[in-house]
Symmetry: C2
Subunit: 151 residues, 2 copies
């Protein structure tokens, strides 16, 4: 890790907690655009640390790469997220979290109503039919919960 402003991919990995391969992957997906040395090696600016940290946090909040890319693209002219941008983005993430919590809660409540009913195969079972709606595609913390927090 150098003292000046140019950092290598390994330095970025050390600083952000991401793997080198993940950082290259994000570049391939267009989330970051480091400059290159004459020899072709990636040179990162300090601002890229914030950008990568943002990617990491947003992912942990359940946004997909595409979602994150969209958020980053909303920033005027390739800026790095500032505190203000972050506030705006996080409010939108919050709304999505709220939705997900509500959806999960609804499923749980339906499950409560169903415990012991034995209706498992009936077409009119609330859970059975609810599933069609409960499981739709889109962005969301697919990996956020659900996962074993202890390992």
């Amino acid at each position: 890790m150098r003292a000046d402003d140019v950092m290598l991919i390994g330095d970025m990995a050390a600083r952000t907690g991401l793997s080198v391969s993940a950082i290259r992957f994000y570049e391939a997906r267009g989330l970051i655009a480091p400059v290159r040395s004459p020899g072709g090696q990636r040179r990162f600016r300090r601002a890229d640390i914030r950008r990568l940290s943002f990617i990491r946090i947003a992912q942990q909040l359940g946004l997909t790469i595409e979602d994150i890319s969209a958020e980053l693209n909303k920033l005027p002219s390739g800026r790095t997220p500032t505190a203000g941008d972050w506030a705006r983005i996080s409010r939108s993430i919050r709304a999505s979290l709220d939705e997900q919590i509500a959806a999960l809660t609804q499923v749980r409540n339906r499950l409560d109503g169903c415990i012991g009913c034995g209706c498992l195969s009936l077409k009119k079972c609330a859970l059975y039919n609810a599933g069609d709606r409960a499981a739709s595609t889109g962005a969301g913390p697919r990996y956020l919960m659900g996962e074993n927090p202890d390992r």
Copy 2:
């Protein structure tokens, strides 16, 4: 669809809402074990409808194939789930849903505390560090909200 007790895979698909390929897939994964006709075609019993319905519901609740397989294996001697079994299983699913809701809520609360703080790249940021725990691998409703039911 025949009136008697033997059903073909297409009948099962029609009755459970699963696709034919999904049913074959579940068999390959050991979740069901239909008998075969002399010619090699799958013959399903009525009980398999319940079993498949159970698989479908459990999946919509966020269990992985492996989780479901484990639940089904807990049933004594290859029985099909009864109302009682379902009550036991659904209580355990409920506990897992509760955990997930709690985890999500915690993340949302952390996010609230962080909105506007601009700490994005700081090592001490609660969200930044929380992520290590919030997003690890394991079973859970990865697809619960999140998928397109319309296709």
